[in-house]
Symmetry: C2
Subunit: 197 residues, 2 copies
DNA sequence: CTACATTCATACCAAACGGTACAGAAATGC
DNA sequence: GCATTTCTGTACCGTTTGGTATGAATGTAG
């Protein structure tokens, strides 16, 4: 075992609690008191284990990315562009309204509620979003080459449409929309997807 | 003229400045120092003229509603459901990226950045959104009766789709999307609109 | 048992927050 | 000129913010 007094809390569950607080209150909205209360630890313990508030947010975001945004990677692995769109929108509808965690999207709420633009966490959120965007655009351009999308379709516009609907669903979920509500929105959005004729 | 020492600032332009600050920083993100600096007045002058911070936000929201959300009422006055959808989405794309004021939507940014749920301003934002939603739903149900929409279409779903896309466009604008970008999204969303066959 | 390393709890810090007390300044009414 | 009314500027209030100094507590290594 490591030297010194052992840590009295589980660092993994504490991070999960922090993630929930950031997720439901945003970055600025989550005070250190909110965080330490939810995590069941004191301020110095938090700083010793995670760094400052921004570091903690970044670590929570990492966990969020790998655990809660997995549906995006599943969508990227879809065999066709159509199934990519389906998995993305249906997956978003399901995740955003999953009752086992706060509603909405952490990256949306987090980016909106931090006042300082020079915040490193905000840049990281931008990077995260942009990487997903370019991945989707690349996949859709490949779909055109595969004859999987009409040759005159614009991958950038298609991606932006998907992103717009997904972000809009996040706000809808924050305002109380149910999973069924968002599924209906996803179904309607998919009727705008270009058909192979 | 009224009794007492005259006010040294124009109450109307001061409110416009306050609106811009709330619009770009959100409710919590806008500090009293930000507000008084932008309005060019001192704290006591602000409180004497507008009440507290929440009252000021509400008055700024009133102005926003009548001046910047006029396109929604124009959409509601459209002759057909199809033109309603067009005016709503194209109008949103234009307003959200208008360079003469902050990008995005005040009601989205304002609702997201106030931590206290018991805030009266937040309830007012909810009311505002709900009133627009029911107005659109009513208009769309009337459109079905008019034979203006297929009889099997669901006005609630159609409204939620429009609201989702509009809110998503607000976030896209906040992240730097141009007017042309949002117009393309609006055009694609409109291809999901039910056709009369 | 002692030395060492690490965590814990208390108590504190400066800064920023929303909001206000108070006195002086500028107008009107008499 | 004088009382009254209203606004302005300064200086302040208590609370909350993110962040930390400090010493006791608790473990391992010798």
């Amino acid at each position: 075992m490591a030297l010194g007094r052992p840590r009295a809390f589980d660092i993994d569950t504490a991070l999960n609690r922090a993630l929930e607080v950031f997720w439901s209150k945003g970055f600025d909205g989550a005070s250190l008191t909110d965080l330490t209360d939810a995590m069941g630890i004191s301020r110095p313990s938090l700083y010793a284990a995670f760094g400052n508030k921004e570091d903690l947010f970044r670590k929570a975001l990492d966990r969020y990315k790998t655990e809660k945004m997995a549906y995006i990677n599943e969508a990227l692995a879809a065999p066709t562009a159509r199934t990519l769109a389906e998995r993305l929108l249906f997956g978003a509808a399901a995740m955003l309204t999953d009752p086992s965690h706060p509603v909405g999207c952490l990256s949306v709420k987090g980016a909106m509620t931090c006042k300082d633009d020079s915040l490193i966490a905000k840049e990281e959120l931008d990077q995260l979003r942009q990487s997903f965007e370019t991945s989707i655009i690349d996949r859709l351009t490949r779909a055109i080459a595969d004859g999987d999308l009409p040759p005159d379709s614009d991958p950038v516009v298609l991606q932006r449409f998907l992103g717009t609907v997904a972000m809009g669903m996040s706000l809808q979920a924050s305002q109380g929309a149910t999973a069924a509500d968002l599924m209906a929105v996803a179904r309607m959005a998919l009727t705008a997807w270009p058909a192979l004729r």
